[in-house]
């Protein structure tokens, strides 16, 4: 994230992944949106102390990324960007919750640490799932899927334009920072006293730019609705995709699979 122009490329890389062709890309966007929704619900429904139970959830993103031929590193990097926020949420758990959860001869792990890691994993998985949805479907097709389930058009436009204008904002920021650094006599970063005028400029310039983009959209008949062209109907395969994943999520939710594997390995029976 050292250079805003680099991060612009990074934003758009997800769109490029969405243009690939694979079994996952072929699944109807609505089914992918619903599957992601189900995954998010199941992930957040785990309590903060059920660390082992939620571990099998990692299979979903891994399988999808492998089948859709999406490289892991760029996607994981994007998840890391949100990590400080998640750490911020769980930061105080280890401090306030010191009740021992797991006592081993050499170390005692408190409930706070377990819940901290549970929040971390939940955050990681939910963001990953959302990014994978964008990388395998693309924002415009997601929007059309939301439209078919009667989400009001105004929300969808908000979503699409916000997504588009992030790139506009980053581009403008890149230009301002470049112009600043060329005249800052080799100093690193931006001086605190210049922050005000720079962000003010950024705001005005991106509003102007956004207006020009909007005008050019209006000149081509944009009336508040995105049309993305041909979308094939929902097939039996698409329904099976959603049903299959939902079933596995339910199984993961109600059966602690790692624990069961542990029992089998240790030869313990209930």
């Amino acid at each position: 994230m050292s250079n805003p122009a680099d991060s612009l490329y990074n934003i758009r890389i997800l769109d490029e992944f969405a243009d690939k062709k694979s079994i996952i890309h072929d699944v109807h966007p609505l089914m992918k949106v619903l599957t992601t929704g189900a995954y998010l619900l199941v992930t957040v429904s785990f309590s903060n102390y059920e660390l082992s139970g939620m571990l099998p959830l990692i299979f979903y993103p891994v399988i999808i990324m492998t089948l859709a031929d999406i490289p892991m590193v760029p996607v994981f990097k994007r998840v890391l960007l949100a990590l400080p926020l998640i750490i911020g949420i769980g930061l105080f758990n280890p401090i306030y919750d010191k009740s021992p959860m797991l006592v081993l001869p050499w170390i005692t792990i408190s409930g706070g640490w377990v819940s901290f890691f549970a929040i971390l994993i939940k955050g990681f998985l939910t963001i990953l799932a959302a990014l994978i949805l964008i990388a395998t479907t693309g924002m415009t097709r997601i929007a059309s899927a939301l439209r078919t389930i009667r989400i009001p058009g105004v929300f969808i436009i908000q979503l699409l334009l916000t997504y588009r204008y992030i790139a506009v904002l980053v581009e403008e920021a890149g230009r301002i920072v470049r112009a600043y650094s060329l005249r800052s006599a080799g100093e690193k970063g931006i001086k605190f006293r210049d922050w005000g005028s720079l962000t003010g400029h950024l705001l005005i310039r991106s509003i102007e730019r956004a207006q020009r983009v909007y005008r050019s959209m209006c000149c081509r008949g944009f009336t508040g609705e995105y049309h993305i062209g041909r979308e094939k109907g929902i097939g039996i395969g698409d329904i099976l995709y959603f049903a299959g994943w939902s079933l596995s999520f339910v199984i993961i939710r109600y059966f602690n699979i790692p624990e069961m594997i542990g029992w089998v390995m240790m030869g313990v029976r209930r």
Binding site: R12, D15, E16, A18, D19, G138, T140, R164, R209, R212, V213, R215, S216, M217, C218, C219, R220, G221, F222, T223, E225, H227, I228, G229, R230
Partner: protein
């Protein structure tokens, strides 16, 4: 062909900051004409173009495209007839692929997808970038972006093409290619530009703007060769008509 006539009548427009950008502009452009709109920076060229596509509306006066006045109600019709190519192609290209960008307009008019595809392919073919249809627009060169921006407008099948500085930031070869392309179009063309040499080659008629007024309107050859007039309007003779930079000899006009 009365529906291709563009008539501006006493257009006045003041920006919210109080600057009077248009101050009684009037002209009539008939079917198939190529008109260059020239003038110094701030003369009102871009503002005038914005009025032609109904992005801005005049405080006074009226614009007619054929028999239809440019008003909020008639916008869908106007924008189908008048295609505008913006100065910065990046403003016009915002989808993930060139194909989707060119298809954006026809899809907004709810054309069947077969027709959309036909139009996209034919417009990309016309501007010579059919091979780039699956590329993301931000990865194109300046010339390719400009061609893509023109294709986005051609796909709407407009009768009238309005262009704001089409040759700005193009290298000489891309500029030449663009001029040839525009020469091959039979549309009514309105081109606002500082590239007087292009106007000389492309437009048989020129309108000179200064401080929001039409200073003169007539045959390009007569207007652009008038050094005194050009000087008065903050312009100069087209480079092709100026003396040779090495020996100083002037071309006979």
């Amino acid at each position: 062909m009365s529906h291709h006539i563009i008539q501006a009548d006493n257009l006045k427009y003041k920006y919210p900051d109080g600057r009077q950008a248009l101050n009684g502009v009037a002209f009539k452009i008939t079917h198939g004409e190529s008109v260059g709109i020239v003038g110094a920076n701030g003369a009102g060229k871009s503002t005038l173009l914005m009025h032609l596509v109904g992005v801005l509306f005049p405080d006074e006066g009226e614009i007619m495209i054929g028999d239809v006045p440019v008003t909020k109600k008639t916008l869908p019709l106007i924008r189908q007839r008048v295609g505008m190519v913006f100065q910065d192609p990046d403003d016009q290209l915002f989808m993930t692929t060139v194909y989707d960008d060119v298809a954006f307009g026809p899809r907004n008019y709810k054309l069947p997808e077969e027709e959309v595809e036909k139009r996209v392919i034919s417009s990309l073919d016309t501007v010579g970038i059919l091979h780039l249809k699956d590329r993301p627009p931000y990865k194109l060169s300046g010339g390719e972006k400009r061609a893509a921006a023109i294709a986005t407008v051609l796909a709407m099948n407009p009768d009238i093409l309005v262009m704001d500085e089409p040759t700005s930031s193009l290298d000489p070869k891309s500029r030449r290619r663009l001029i040839r392309l525009l020469q091959s179009f039979t549309h009514t063309k309105i081109i606002a530009t500082h590239d007087l040499d292009m106007v000389f080659e492309l437009c048989e008629r020129t309108i000179v703007l200064k401080d929001g007024r039409v200073i003169t309107d007539g045959p390009t050859e007569k207007i652009l060769c008038d050094a005194e007039l050009m000087e008065e309007c903050g312009l100069e003779l087209p480079l092709g008509l100026q003396g040779c930079p090495v020996c100083g000899t002037k071309k006979p006009i």
